[in-house]
């Protein structure tokens, strides 16, 4: 194995903190200023701004050493991540949803989130009706606002591109969005209210 692709295990020394920055799967010990691996995987060294031609001038820019390649644990939601969730329950002041995907990756374990009344949309938030925004079973795209409370993550759909991306009508057909607040059933022509996400361009 080459020097740049060495298989390491947790606790292995990756280098001195004066020479490297700790990237993913690595940490710096404050006791002896050494970079250690915290995961199993391949040790890789990323040079600072490899495309930047003048980076050699900045001697204080250390290369980053990271450990990747082996399986990492399942993704967990963090503030700012875009999630796909399925609405499970709609109440007067909030809707609860099960997070199913984080970005493009599906979660390995189920996480619950709640969308509060004030986080449904950005404008006229005092006129929001929860039951006119979501129904149980809707698939929504949302952003994680915070880690929330002991029970759930706080989600928000207060952006154009966030909201319901797929919903079924009472007749059981997948509805077609017709405006940012309405969706129509292709079978019955019935119009239902949702906080619709703007998908694509």
């Amino acid at each position: 194995m080459g020097k740049d692709s060495q298989w390491v295990t947790p606790g292995e020394v990756l280098g001195k903190a004066s020479k490297f920055k700790a990237g993913r799967g690595a940490y710096v010990s404050p006791d002896n200023l050494t970079v250690y691996a915290s995961l199993t995987g391949l040790r890789r060294i990323l040079s600072p701004f490899p495309t930047h031609p003048t980076s050699w001038k900045f001697e204080f820019l250390r290369p980053t050493v990271e450990v990747t390649g082996h399986k990492a644990h399942g993704a967990i939601p963090e503030p700012g991540s875009i999630v796909i969730a399925r609405v499970t329950k709609v109440m007067a002041r909030m809707a609860s949803a099960d997070i199913m995907c984080l970005g493009t990756k599906s979660v390995r374990e189920k996480f619950t989130g709640i969308i509060r009344l004030q986080d449904v949309r950005a404008t006229e938030i005092d006129k929001v009706d929860m039951h006119m925004s979501f129904h149980p079973g809707d698939i929504v795209r949302a952003i994680v606002l915070s880690l929330g409370d002991a029970r759930a993550y706080y989600l928000s759909t207060a952006k154009n591109e966030l909201g319901v991306i797929s919903a079924q009508s009472t007749a059981g057909a997948t509805m077609v969005p017709i405006s940012w607040t309405e969706m129509q059933c292709p079978l019955t022509g019935q119009i239902e209210h949702r906080k619709v996400a703007k998908v694509g361009q």
Partner: protein, 261 residues
Amino acid sequence: MAGKGGATPSTYSPSPTTQKTKSLSFGNDDVLRPDDREWHQCRPAFFQIGVVAAAAGSAYADFGSTKVIVSVFGPRESKKAMMYSDIGRLNCNVSYTTFATPVRGQGSDHKEFSSMLHKALEGAIILETFPKTTVDVFALVLESGGSDLPVVISCASLALADAGIMMYDLVTSVSVSFLGKNLVLDPTLEEESYQDGSLILTWMPSRNKVTQLTITGEWSTPKINEGMKICMDACSKFSQIMKSCLKGLDSALEEEDSNVD
């Protein structure tokens, strides 16, 4: 069943004939241990990762007749009743199979093992990397052959590494028993039943840090010192086996001699 009329219950139980019947002369230096080991020699150790398909990470360890399997699940959502926390949680559980001990169903009185496993691992895991979520560690002792807790701890750290949980270092653990005037490394169940005291050291080998030290019985300071040195020496050797197991190298049955002079 009915054909056996009058016979004793036909449940199989390994006959505990070797238990506590022969008086071992443990004070004698030239007598080897029941399994022909030196005083400061470990049993052959074997580790394997990825043995439970359903778990996020798992490991199997086999030290002589002590066999354990550890599965790691998560990080996953914490139980509803728990309080909010900015850092992750570790939940440990150690259980025994009903056939783990020579006398059936005797392995259940190890309630403290779960909390000891938790304390041993807690310091080695970077809990900040999975806020608000819980990592579950389930250890199952398949066969109890002595030094169960140290084997469980080492095996659990391997399972955590397999699950991709961020750790400061691997955790290795070994115990010594005080038998007469001898320190016996990695005692078997039989030796543990005769011990006057025990010392369990849980150590992070490359960081050179102790995460847990459990001492029972009467020990003098020099003996504790000696015991810890023996344990650390054995731990660093186990860590080599564990590392090669994680690296996918063939770690099959490596004989351990950790003779300390």
